[in-house]
Symmetry: C2
Subunit: 526 residues, 2 copies
């Protein structure tokens, strides 16, 4: 399939604009073929108006029809074959194996949400039947369910060109909830985005979904993204990316004449706590595992471990030395773009120059092009707690160790942390009991607490929380990975004293879909 | 129990401030006894710091302990006896029967949330067990539950001095979720607030809850409320009141260095649609019912019907005439305060002076003191759609009829509406089918759709939605009445590969509490 460089406004390919841009190969810094055309305001408006027009029809599709649509998107992505993988490799410098794996994850996400839609119980169905004889007043028949919000704007992420981009987790969960989607493609992989966008549109046609259920907007400027955020018919935003980008969208959305929710996942530095007992026993294994997690994908994961906290001790010194050796022998990889590399370099330089922070080790190979050296720095708890900027994410394979003096100091440090996506504790089972205070503190700081593991690798399942308190996200009460993400794109509506025939099928007495429902205080599915 | 006029900072009564104020009797405009002292910044800080200190202990209480606390609050409120009712009557001019009913509702809410807490399934428990042999990668054990946010600030409402004030729905749901609460008493009923606050503190002592689980802040100034909103340890706000107040809090909360959710219910004008078929059959019954709903509690309900929409016809004219007769013969009541009465008068004057709007009828008795006359106005669809301010709530017993020409115009009007709490449709069963388009539109505009009933009277049950799109609320994805309100004050956290003994009890394999849990994709309670 030849790339067109056009915006996909529902079923119409459109390039009315005059601003053009190219994807670049991060390994060579050379532009790739295909001239992409940034969408005009008019095109953004058309996409959102089409999404609004499609809403009534799309949200009324049966769960079976919606599930088939999601599954067909997965099929169509696979049908893009090697072309998708090779274009994506060229645009991101991510290795083939990783992208084949990410494609699988993307397809699995779509299929998992198809299952959630088919099951239907996600809609939190609640029924209180009438009590006409109740004194002093009768009770009406009241029935509640979750309904889709309306057209949703989704921003593709740079670091997951498939699994958190055009047909990624946000899109899958919004489509699953019944919301048409307007995606703003990430400008670092516009070709990958167009290919996946075409796959979604093919799936929409094959499953008779309305024109406008999906549109793809291209363009590198802030304005084109903001045109989506500010459009009055957009009802929610999904975003994965930098704090700066997410916060700007959050602020703009709150200043609209009708504010809308922004589900922005803005990354974090994911503190890893290693307790003294386990350090004695498992030094080498943890050092190897941590080095692997730190350098995986050139450190370009939202859950990359950027902070390490250990009580000062000989064991801790030995551990740092061993981690340093691992890092020295790691192979630098190419980052996603020159811009990301520049930001990484700036972050590393800041640590290098920071008072009271010293370098433990760097990967040995000289940097070339957009290659990133891995680094481990170390500092003391007092320096760390006096300079909150040391807690900020350095997006890439760099970790800062913070030495604490004892358990109390470690807990004090934990209390001082801002919101993060994850926290990790390495300890013996006995230590986990002993440090239950630390867990209590971390429960308020993160969305996921990992025991004796590593934060990278986010399972897509019912129980996953990929989220956390601000500034990790702008929506700590939700998750962006896992089936609970569907709740972001819906709101409750209740029907009072409706005749059976006028109720949504899911709320009718006979429960033909055998959904779980809270009926007069009891969960049941008959 | 003698009123002290002091702030209740946990178990300490405190009046360090120099600003004082009084409650007034709305019937006489005379000040009541007891000088109340506005809280200082220092006192607000103390209250929030105490709440923060109490959080760890309070959130770790068993569900049984927390449920007993809620039930004991209900008992203690009842134990206040006539003193509560008579003080509340003096502060609000609401009649005894209404307040006794509202006290019952307040107690029932607390007991209902006790049941929810005891049941425990509200925490959306999700378990995906480990798959160590999965290829290419093993799956970790991942378990998710909802945890309380932290200290919550709650603003008491003027119009529900018991059920939506100090121990009202927001407080009950926040305490149920495990959050300590700092209540800002509504300055129109500080004595009622102090009595109920003492009841909560008595209950806290009797059930061994930590000092700081509840505090009561007094004061009429904007600053004292904002001091709560802006305190860094406050994690969410519950508010019921005016659009201006709610929006100011929403904006301030979003501008904090750590933004927090604001669950503000800001009222609405609750459109009532009467379809032509039912109008022929049930004119008198609907007119009587609507007049009753309009004048109930002097129109001072968030769900008061302020807009009526009918296609122009002889039946519609007859209906308006009949509604007018009902209104003429209704008895004016005393509003909650001189301020509320002044705002009401301004709203009525605006309608009186609006081009293209005419008066149908007013209650006949001359207004005295803070008495409010009831009014029915009428206008045409074009006037209405050209002046969006006609859609704004007039808080009190005034209704605006809007005449539409036909079904298409009625739907167009519905599409033009902003967010409201409720919409009501009167129709025959056949009309409900015929107007399914209207229902589809209203599903996007409101939280509750009522068929052949009236919007006042909000049942407290599992299925209730008291909420709706902005500007009715700042949190359309939640409800402020009903058991689903507990979700506002919690967020999901997941535990990865935790040993059984370190997991919260609700997530352990044996499920000792017999909670509903989503285990490997199946809801079960074994």
């Amino acid at each position: 399939m030849a790339l067109t460089g056009l915006n996909l406004i529902g079923n119409i390919s459109s390039g009315k604009g005059t601003t053009t841009f190219f994807a670049a190969n991060p390994s060579t810094s050379k532009n790739l073929d295909t001239t992409f055309i940034e969408a005009t305001n008019e095109e953004v408006n058309m996409a959102v108006e089409k999404a609004e027009s499609a809403f009534s029809s799309y949200s009324s599709k049966t769960s079976e029809e919606r599930a088939r649509f999601l599954e067909t998107i997965a099929d169509e992505i696979l049908a893009l074959g090697d072309e998708l993988i090779s274009r994506c490799m060229a645009e991101t410098a991510l290795p083939e194996g990783r992208l084949i794996g990410e494609r699988g994850r993307t397809m699995n996400q779509l299929k998992l949400f198809a299952k959630v839609v088919r099951d239907g119980s996600w809609a939190d169905l609640r029924i209180d039947t009438a009590l006409p004889d109740r004194k002093p007043l009768p009770r009406s028949d009241i029935r509640q369910m979750q309904l889709p919000l309306g057209p949703v704007g989704i921003f593709g992420a740079s670091n997951f060109p498939l699994a958190f981009s055009v047909a990624g987790g946000d899109t899958a969960s919004a489509l699953a909830a019944g919301c048409p989607v307007v995606v703003k493609a990430h400008p670092l992989h516009p070709g990958t985005s167009e290919l996946v966008g075409m796959a979604i549109l093919n799936a929409a046609r094959k499953t008779q979904m309305p024109d406008g259920v999906f549109s793809l907007i291209q363009g590198p400027s802030v304005e084109v993204g903001m045109a989506i955020v500010l459009h009055p018919k957009i009802t929610a935003i999904g975003f994965t990316g930098s704090f700066r980008g997410g916060k700007a969208i959050f602020d703009a959305a709150n200043k609209r004449s009708t504010p809308i929710p922004v589900f922005a996942e803005m990354g974090s530095s994911n503190p890893v706590f290693i307790l003294p007992g386990i350090l004695k026993k498992e030094k080498s294994n943890i050092a190897k595992g941590l080095a692997g997690s730190l350098t995986l994908g050139v450190g370009q994961f939202c859950t990359n471990p950027g902070l390490l906290i250990m009580d000062q001790s000989d064991d801790a010194n030995d551990f740092l030395k061993e981690l340093g050796e691992q890092i020295k022998s790691s192979t630098p990889g190419t980052m996603l773009s020159a811009g990301i590399k520049n930001n990484y370099t700036a972050g590393v330089n800041k640590l290098t120059e920071a008072q009271g922070v010293s370098l433990v080790a760097s990967s040995s190979e000289t940097e070339t092009g957009n290659h990133a050296q891995s680094n481990v720095f170390t500092t003391g708890v007092h320096t760390f707690m006096q300079d909150h900027s040391l807690e900020e994410e350095v997006f890439g394979p760099t970790l800062l160790n913070v030495s604490t003096g004892n358990k109390a100091e470690m807990i004090k440090l934990a209390e001082s942390l801002e919101g993060h996506l994850t926290a990790t504790i390495h300890g013996t089972a006995a230590e986990l009991q002993e440090y239950s205070d630390l867990i209590k503190v971390l429960e308020r700081k993160v969305g996921r607490i990992i025991f004796n593991g590593f934060p990278t690798g986010v399972e897509v399942c019912d129980a996953m929380v990929h989220g956390g308190p601000y500034p990790a996200t702008t929506a700590p009460q939700t998750t962006s990975v896992g089936t609970a993400a569907i709740k972001r794109f819906a709101r409750p509506v209740c029907y009072q004293d409706f005749p059976q025939s006028a109720l949504p099928v899911a709320l009718r007495d006979e429960n033909p879909l055998k959904l779980w429902r809270l009926v007069n205080g009891e969960w049941r599915r008959e």
